[in-house]
Symmetry: C2
Subunit: 196 residues, 2 copies
Amino acid sequence: MGSAALKKLRQQRLQAVLAKNPFLTDENLAEQFEVSIQTIRLDRMAMGISELRERTRYMAENAQKKLQAIASDDIVGELIDLEIGVSGISMMTVNKEMVLQKTGVCRGQYMFAQANSLALAVIDAPAALTGVANVKYKIPVYSGAVLVARAEVVRKQEDKYTIWVKIRNNRKEVFRAKFLIVSLPEERNQENENRG
Amino acid sequence: MGSAALKKLRQQRLQAVLAKNPFLTDENLAEQFEVSIQTIRLDRMAMGISELRERTRYMAENAQKKLQAIASDDIVGELIDLEIGVSGISMMTVNKEMVLQKTGVCRGQYMFAQANSLALAVIDAPAALTGVANVKYKIPVYSGAVLVARAEVVRKQEDKYTIWVKIRNNRKEVFRAKFLIVSLPEERNQENENRG
DNA sequence: CAACTGTTATGACTAGGTACTAAAAGTAGG
DNA sequence: CCTACTTTTAGTACCTAGTCATAACAGTTG
């Protein structure tokens, strides 16, 4: 094998190693690959891989954003259209972190979350709670699917709303849910407590 | 005001500022607080706050772990007990990232996720899919609540399971769901595709 | 005034690099 | 075998964002 081929192989391995563990210094990598630090640096240059500190900073910022996106966004998916009190549409792309390891099928909770949060967004109220949900999964969905959810208010009685949400992937209906949601008049806010 | 009091105030503000934005150098902080870099360093020493690079690294590692915990765990919550094909118990603590900003109430999707993943875990099958779910939220749950979910298989007909899941907080039932789950015989794995 | 706390300054050192130059080592082609 | 070329290694100066230790101020108080 020529040294040019060895070089390419090493650079690819370097990329793979850093993808798995980005917290490695050039010195660590030099030991691991049994070459000099300079070679590692040339390889990083060639592959456009930034230095340890930048990698770490990027990871910290990025993971932070992702966490916030997952945890603190009240709407799961991207809100495309919203007519308050009437209907709403949101979009969500299934990625490989959202699927079950065994089957590769998207976990039901993600579709549920998209549907439920869209239903809550449609309600014309300062605060609302899900009371009852009837859910049906029609077709399994895999990584890469672009899910379009459409929510419609079908009935409103005083503070109780009935909302239908249908999720389509590639125009086929994959999920359907009926939510009974109660809107809160902002009075009873946190009288409830959660003791041990 | 004595300078000792000023010092304490500055140190507390320092801690607060770094809690909000950990990506600040001592130089940045010195400008912001209109003191010298050395003062900032003495303050960090006094408060036991590590340097920028360590803070960044800690955040990167920690957020990474959290992301993995949220995204790639198939079971939401901690599995306490499991009798395959019969019943299972899991525990989950509601934290402040899991509640709606407006009301402080835990988002329904988390309870749904806990219940659904527990139900899937109980099934004695290599792979299973949720078909239908009937869900009822009985009492709103707030941050700090320790949710105990108990799943029970109430019927089994061929590959179709009916599973009841009840979630209690402090012995009061806050959530209840019935799942109809279909177990897959591992044959039809990924014949479905997701185009566009 | 001396003692003390708080703040700032200074110098020497560190990790983990960048940017650049130079040299050695390996690998062909003629 | 010698030359041309690529690859690898070495070494220097410099950078950031610190560390640690020492010293010198400033302001207050007993």
